[in-house]
Subunit: 193 residues, 2 copies
DNA sequence: CACTATCTGGAACGATCGACAAAGTACCGC
DNA sequence: GCGGTACTTTGTCGATCGTTCCAGATAGTG
């Protein structure tokens, strides 16, 4: 028909994600987003409709990039304790990985956007629940096999583990001490005993 | 000397706190703060110097109102498990208390402001550390008395508990389910066994 | 090759941002 | 009661906000 879109949509969303993660939603201006993506504001509005639209796209990419692999790992069929530990270590790595101080988009969105935008709130609940569900299935199976404690229900244990992951994100933002965070994660894992 | 200040400084800071908690730092405008406090913007600038100044005052009041009582409770000399449980239950109550969806200022500040303003970062670290320290003293004493596990150091246990508290704040923002949060808190407490 | 539908970057919009100065007002010590 | 001082109010500043629109550029169609 006519001219095709020139830029890579995913790359633009990815660049926008870094900005939102470091400056928050309100703290990020369209100017910031233009510079980060290399796009004119016109192109952004044509592609995403609004700042909110772009933010939602960023949120979806974040889910796809971080939450989905975690769920896949939990459902991989490997040893329950091993994969859960791997998820925790991976989270600590992600927090302390680079020096760019990119906070967790999920936690940030929970604090800043969940109460303002129902679409954000839905996505957050959906992401958390799919993670909890994957943990639940894994833990329930492990309980049947006698690999972990049955003192607490798999539901509670799953919810607790997600809570701990969120807590690690917050602690990492306050003090990104990899060794300390790892030790806190280890303590959390002892709840499975 | 001269005309006395007409408004209650603490009341103004308290009103501003509610706004910051519900809208975040960047999401709150001076107009919002004027309406909430009932003060003209001129008065706010005379009293606090800037929006940042007011935010720091809010942060200090939040510490004084929530963190300090927690530390006092932990140092009250009562049974370690009982006071720790009380701190957790109190946190869950605070999260699910009213329907106004006021998120935790500490967590919000960690996500939104810690990387932008060193004075905020300092206050956050100081608050967390005083809470960790109070927990440490309590736990170390409890370990000597054989009241809790010695499998993990008191330092790690204290850090883990603070991590869990932060996690509960995040989970509460995503889904303020009091019963679920309480069960997650219970699981966290089993780490002391 | 000409046409045209679409994309692009940037200018410009009204609104609102944080901040401030000037003017008015109420209180103090004298 | 008076002068002076500090506080409050009001209006406004330039900058920046998110958004829209437009003119030019470009790639696909016939």
């Amino acid at each position: 028909m006519a001219r095709t879109r020139e830029f890579d949509l995913d790359a633009a969303v990815s660049a926008a994600m870094d900005v939102f993660r470091s400056k928050g939603y309100e703290g990020t201006s369209m100017r910031d987003l233009s510079e980060a993506t290399g796009l004119g504001s016109g192109s952004i509005y044509a592609a995403f409709g609004s700042k909110d639209g772009l933010y939602l796209a960023v949120l979806d990419l974040y889910r796809q990039r971080y939450a989905t692999p975690m769920v896949d790992l939990l459902r991989s069929g490997n040893d329950p304790r091993a994969v859960i530990r791997e998820v925790f270590i991976g989270t600590v790595d992600d927090i302390t990985g680079d020096g760019r101080h990119l906070s967790c988009l999920i936690v940030g969105a929970s604090m800043e956007r969940a109460h303002q935008d129902v679409r954000v709130a839905e996505r957050l609940r959906s992401t958390t629940q799919s993670l909890e569900l994957a943990l639940y299935d894994l833990l329930a199976e492990a309980q049947l096999r006698g690999q972990i404690t049955t003192d607490r229900s798999a539901t509670d244990l799953a919810g607790f583990l997600v809570t701990s992951l969120q807590g690690l994100r917050v602690m990492g933002a306050i003090n990104p001490d990899r060794a300390a965070l790892t030790r806190y994660a280890e303590v959390a894992l002892t709840c499975l005993d």
